[in-house]
């Protein structure tokens, strides 16, 4: 038989749902021509837990543990979005201490989330050491959270009208200690991974999301900023008093290879951690006095209305659309997930690349399947 007979024959390859580098249970159906990927079809829904239907059957505060379980890596940010939406629905205003504590916890969790994303990304690419370094640091943040509210991953911390616990004695000093010792770790990470030649070759010219593509697919968060668009809800639509903090929005610069590559998205996360540390410092400095349980209502019963509220989580814009019929349980809770929109772009950016590049792209867009399938 002639060798030419095989030329152009495509093979369908199933990647996942239990693949170590698909970050959860994502199944990708690849049509490959040798090593080249002709088509990618993501299949989602393996982690569907009926969040939205659940939320229609429990009272407003009871939804918060389920919100935590959507994006289980950044629970603080998820429940913050929901709590803010319900507060907006009720017209509730919280005191300054609660706002500052929420910013503090959201930024601490952003650091933890980015550390996990960077660490697992390094492991996908094939370098194991940064993963261990990142997890060692993340552990310190989780210890702080465990000290604060007793849970390490699913905090149930941001309640409607307040937070569940005030900070324990000595928490500020310990957090300051963490921030101080964590800053050199970022520099170390740069040396260890960011400017590593092999890492650069694997990521700097791969998975390019152009500005138009990013905007047309509603890509948000670090993925959008990696494409050079400095859109951050903390700046554009401030909540929890973010407008009073001094921080920058890092964008991709295309230092190595074209703008919007996997490396740009990765590096935006590294620099966002630096900004988060600055925010944590500022929040600790200004922490006002107050009672964190002051505004928690005995019964959460909003008037008949609807609201859409969005916040900036480590993965992008997370929106909650709430409809209330005046009862004790929500009539409808719809979630706009940032990971879902960026995954919809995957077929376009992975087309024509190598199979190994798919791993690099999935790691760089930093998806959490719990949030996509809900």
């Amino acid at each position: 038989m002639q060798v030419e007979a095989y030329a152009g024959e495509e093979m369908v390859l199933n990647m996942g749902p239990q693949h170590p580098s698909t970050h959860g249970v994502l199944r990708l159906e690849l049509e490959t021509d040798g090593e080249i990927v002709r088509k990618v079809i993501p299949h989602i829904g393996y982690l569907h837990r009926c969040f939205e239907k659940h939320a229609e059957n429990i009272d407003y505060p009871g939804v918060i543990p389920f919100c935590d379980r959507m994006d289980y890596i950044a629970s603080m940010n998820n429940s913050l979005g929901y709590a803010l939406a319900v507060e907006k629905l009720m017209g509730l205003e919280v005191n300054e201490r609660v706002k500052t504590l929420r910013v503090l916890m959201a930024e601490l969790n952003r650091v933890a989330s980015h550390l996990l994303s960077i660490g697992t990304y390094a492991m996908d690419i094939g370098s194991f050491t940064p993963f261990l370094h990142c997890f060692r640091e993340r552990e310190k943040v989780l210890d702080l959270f465990e000290w604060l509210c007793g849970a390490r991953l699913l905090y149930n911390y941001n309640w409607v009208g307040g937070v569940s616990h005030d900070i324990p004695e000595g928490f500020e000093a310990k957090t300051r200690e963490f921030v101080t010792q964590f800053e050199p770790v970022i520099a170390e990470l740069d040396k260890l991974l960011s400017y590593n030649k092999i890492f650069l070759e694997r990521t700097a010219d791969v998975g390019i999301i152009s500005e138009e593509q990013a905007l047309s697919h509603n890509v948000t968060g670090p993925n959008l900023r990696g494409s050079g668009i400095g859109w951050d809800l903390r700046k554009e639509e401030p909540y929890c008093g973010y407008e009073t903090y001094d921080f920058e929005v890092p964008v991709g610069l295309g230092e190595h290879g074209p703008l919007g590559s996997c490396w740009d998205r990765y590096y935006v996360r590294v620099r966002e951690m630096e900004q988060s540390l600055g925010l944590i410092r500022q929040a600790l400095e200004r922490l006002p006095e107050g009672d964190v349980h002051e505004h928690i209502p005995r019964r959460v019963r909003p008037a008949k209305s609807e609201v859409y509220d969005r916040t900036e989580t480590p993965r992008g814009e997370l929106g909650y659309y709430l409809v209330s019929d005046g009862g004790l349980i929500p009539f409808r809770v719809k979630v706009k997930s940032p990971c879902f929109t960026v995954l919809s772009l995957l077929p376009a950016i992975a087309k024509g690349g190598m199979v190994a590049d798919i791993i690099a792209i999935i790691g760089s867009i930093d998806i959490v399947m719990g949030e996509i399938d809900r």
Binding site: I58, P61, G62, V63, I64, P65, F66, D68, S127, T129, R136, E139, E146, W147, L148, C149, G150, A151, L154, N156, S164, H165, P168, E188, K191, L192, L193, Y195, N196, K197, I198, E201
Partner: protein, 164 residues
């Protein structure tokens, strides 16, 4: 050709730099613990196993309403007037006899929403985390000690079997 060798040189060089950092970490203290023999000391607020001090429970049922996964089952009956008055540790009079207070720990999502509304603070989450069991039904913790006093209501008569 020149680029080829430059790439190889840069790769080796940056990897060596990384190895230098890794090598330096070889002489730092280990941050892990040999778990079963040594254990971390958990903070006071740790949310692990639920515990109910049934002597203080007034049977108000607020925890049952707060639980988002419905893993607490409670049955109460009114104490008779002639019975001697009893009080919880904080002085709240106990007017209901809790004849069933079961928590299915295999359903619990450790959210802490049940302990917050408890008026006598008898339902708490303890820092105890080693409570694996062999059978699933052993996760159903029965806290209630009182037996129901009133005669149980007669069970509804079963429906007549359908004619075949």
């Amino acid at each position: 050709m020149k680029r080829y060798f430059r790439d190889i040189f840069q790769s080796v060089w940056t990897v060596l730099q990384g190895m230098k950092i890794t090598g330096a970490h070889l002489f730092t203290r280990s941050c892990t613990l040999q778990y079963p023999s040594v254990k971390w000391e958990l903070p006071e607020r740790s949310r692990m196993r639920l515990f109910n001090k049934i002597e203080d429970c007034i049977g108000c049922g607020q925890c049952v309403r707060a639980c988002p996964v419905d893993c607490i089952y409670m049955t109460t009956e009114r104490r008779a007037k002639e019975e001697p008055p009893i009080f919880a540790a904080d002085g709240t009079p106990i007017k209901l006899r809790v004849t069933q207070f079961d928590i299915d720990m295999s359903l619990c999502c450790y959210c802490n929403l049940c302990t917050y509304p408890c008026p006598t603070h008898c339902l708490v989450m303890t820092p105890e985390y080693e409570f694996a069991v062999q059978a699933k039904q052993d996760f159903l913790y029965r806290f209630a000690k009182d037996e129901p006093q009133a005669p149980p209501k007669p069970a509804p008569s079963p429906r007549p079997a359908r004619a075949r």
